[in-house]
Symmetry: C2
Subunit: 553 residues, 2 copies
Amino acid sequence: MASAGGPSPGRLASAYSEVQTSRLHHSLPLPSVLTSHFSLVDGPPSSASGNPDKIAELFPSLFGQPSAALVPAKVMAEGKPLKVGVVLSGGQAPGGHNVICGIFDFLQDRAKGSTMYGFKGGPAGVMKCKYVELNSDFVYPYRNQGGFDMICSGRDKIETPEQFKQAEDTANKLDLDGLVVIGGDDSNTNACLIAEYFRGKNLKTRVIGCPKTIDGDLKCKEVPTSFGFDTACKIYSEMIGNVMTDARSSGKYYHFVRLMGRAASHITLECALQTHPNIALIGEEVAAKKETLKNVTDYITDIICKRTEHGYNYGVILIPEGLIDFIPEVQKLIAELNEILAHDVVDEAGVWKSKLESESKKLFEFLPPAIQEQLLLERDPHGNVQVAKIETERMLISMVETELEKRKAEGKYKGQFIGQSHFFGYEGRCGLPTIFDASYCYALGYGAGALLQSGKTGLISSVGNLAAPVAEWTVGGTALTSLMDVERRHGQFKPVIKKAMVELDAAPFKKFASLRDEWALKNRYISPGPIQFIGSGSDAVNHTLLLELGVQA
Amino acid sequence: MASAGGPSPGRLASAYSEVQTSRLHHSLPLPSVLTSHFSLVDGPPSSASGNPDKIAELFPSLFGQPSAALVPAKVMAEGKPLKVGVVLSGGQAPGGHNVICGIFDFLQDRAKGSTMYGFKGGPAGVMKCKYVELNSDFVYPYRNQGGFDMICSGRDKIETPEQFKQAEDTANKLDLDGLVVIGGDDSNTNACLIAEYFRGKNLKTRVIGCPKTIDGDLKCKEVPTSFGFDTACKIYSEMIGNVMTDARSSGKYYHFVRLMGRAASHITLECALQTHPNIALIGEEVAAKKETLKNVTDYITDIICKRTEHGYNYGVILIPEGLIDFIPEVQKLIAELNEILAHDVVDEAGVWKSKLESESKKLFEFLPPAIQEQLLLERDPHGNVQVAKIETERMLISMVETELEKRKAEGKYKGQFIGQSHFFGYEGRCGLPTIFDASYCYALGYGAGALLQSGKTGLISSVGNLAAPVAEWTVGGTALTSLMDVERRHGQFKPVIKKAMVELDAAPFKKFASLRDEWALKNRYISPGPIQFIGSGSDAVNHTLLLELGVQA
């Protein structure tokens, strides 16, 4: 089933732009511990993020294993050749190609004679043993380039006993010493389950995870950030900075910008810290304060009215994609709608509405007609409302418009309001990785190789001290079981790596909260401009990371 | 009415990003003719772009005046101090601030003791004598920065006799030697009318225009491009390149990208040449071939079906914002709708539709319901359909979807189609100007100063030889009347600078046409990446300009 190991037809068919070419030739620095002899030092036994007894039951072989750190060593044995597979899992994030290059270069440098396979199209490629053998020519055109197209990704999971068996067959067939799973929280949980399964079966194949997601919600003490977050936020911030300049220049638009990142609002928070918008909604705060859609609308409308008094009929508002997932009453309405629409037909006269509870009915009627229609018509294959398809920025524009008209009629608002909607999403997740993401990913991959060579399994590649120069970065692996808790699903305990949400008492949110009133009325816009690969700002690390590391941003 | 000449509160209130700061400190080169002694050489008498006798009637003082070129001179008299006003007119374009800086620096360098005024909020600022006196501190924070917020812009025109009188009063009150109008085709036409009026009244105030528009449709032999086009296209191309990588990586999306630029399709053509999409629709070609919406839908659908046969269920499609303005049958439908809706009510039963001619009725029923609704509900203050508000990319997705379902039912299509809509507009028109736009604008402004000093009026600042290094650029002024033709409006002849449309027999379109079949089925995507201000590609000039100048792109 292997494709020929030759260069990728996709990339070769394209000419490269000057910037792509210059990035291709950019040589990557490594943390100094990776540039010389090193050895692995184990930490103390680990536990779990929650419910350690349940995690111990689910991971009998792996639970409690220590995390590991690379430290300089005087001598180092020549590494034996390894057979290593790599798979990309889930949505794209800038830097994925560099993780693969990092593993590849580690094997070339430190385990001469090794073989590397790239599984095609995500975990399905592992199950179907669909792969390509990676060699220097094949890997080369993807160095420092965006996207996941070297081997592509997929959203399948290895879940059923049959699927684990398929993965086992692949590992045996290719005689794999190691498998690197590059993915988000779900994919790393899956990686740990595979590691446990392989260990339980006494397979020699070790499994190492790598933290990928532009959403920034896979992180912990040892994994300070997921890759791709830095690049995506900088691309969105470039665009936000531009529409801020537009708002200030034309003086007549309110730009409502919805930003990708459904579960957590890290992207919105980071972009807010980079650009200083008039308003940025943080889903975690909306949830903590149990706000209603009316509260959110009023919050925006109040600021718009105050800005009019200051002479500003323009502004920029950032909205996390997942905002309405954080609003309890909306969740309730959607649950009721799913229930009703599963059994009833929506009659034009609206009799079906009587089945909604009174609060939900009130909320439904408060929604703009276009959104009502979307809630009723856009269903996924299971018949559920497709929340992700709701264009929250348009919904808010419409609700704010209605509220402003009301206030105008009451003589409380005298401004002019033109809302302009934007969604910044796809353009961020496949951009050329920043210098930070390029180096970070390369170190993650190179480190993953070192972990495999030392026989480690069930760890997530962990690179730390990220605010320092690359040479000083720390390298190691964190026990995946130590990040886990359980959730009860369909009567069973399932292991999960809990998504890291925006913490309302941590430095990044507190900094934002301390400044936002000023940003709301005075225009403190910053335009970060396009990502630079040389000179000013090219080495910058994202603000939230700096704040979380306790470094002055 | 003058504000204090101090630094701008808007910009000072903001911190600058590292990239903004680095651009602030970037010193601009000038064409060598502007760096030493020069004199002005007049060309032969000029005519008009069309109907020279009518233009001669409309511009009795200015018609026939020669264009002028700056040439090196052995000696040069010290320039007398001048009083010069500047005004920004119409939509933002990256580089506008640098035109102002160019004029300012010219006056500082070559006409010591001069005074410069910035009229606020566009031509209304001229009429109302609302201005700010520009000085070094005030101008400084805007050097090489995007936006128009230094003095802001506006869309008013100086049209009625009263308004011309107001402009005259302002010129007299400020004792202006010159006025520079930075704008598009309409604004430059207006500039020429003001120049004629001032000359006719024997005012000393000269008027010089500067070619601004991201749309790229204000150009001629002497004015090879309008400023802002280069930056906007590069920003859009960055985003397009990213969604291309996304399409290739995920393998499941058709990204339909609508690009700003309503009248002409230059932006779409330039972005196509930069990025090599699978499909790019060029309005001028659609019009020339008298295509229907069904033709356009079929063209896209055919390529999607062929791509499925090649194994591709993804792609990228570029759509000019003004597409439907180019489709004759849509124009006809809209004209009929405007007529009907001005007098009749839209009844739910649809009786009103019987008033549409049969072809228009058929077209209307072919349109997706959401677009039908938009056509009926979204009216401008004059009751007309707001064509600009129609989201062409969503309309096309919907029509292609319907056609694909039909073909699927007929067994002619077996693929999966997910359309993803994008509009790239506002984020491009206020970006940090590229090195090209920054230098070009600075030369335009500096040259405008030189033209005013030489007593010229009714010229548009013209900088040429743009594919060469800046030092070799030519500098001069082109008689605005020579760019003009007349149009009959409300029974009167009105002077117009005809918009430069995409020429189907010129090099840029021909290059695109020769490559598009290959781009359609094979993926030749190029990802230009973010604009760089140092190193690779930072000095690049846009492709269409290179092709139009006969330089190999």
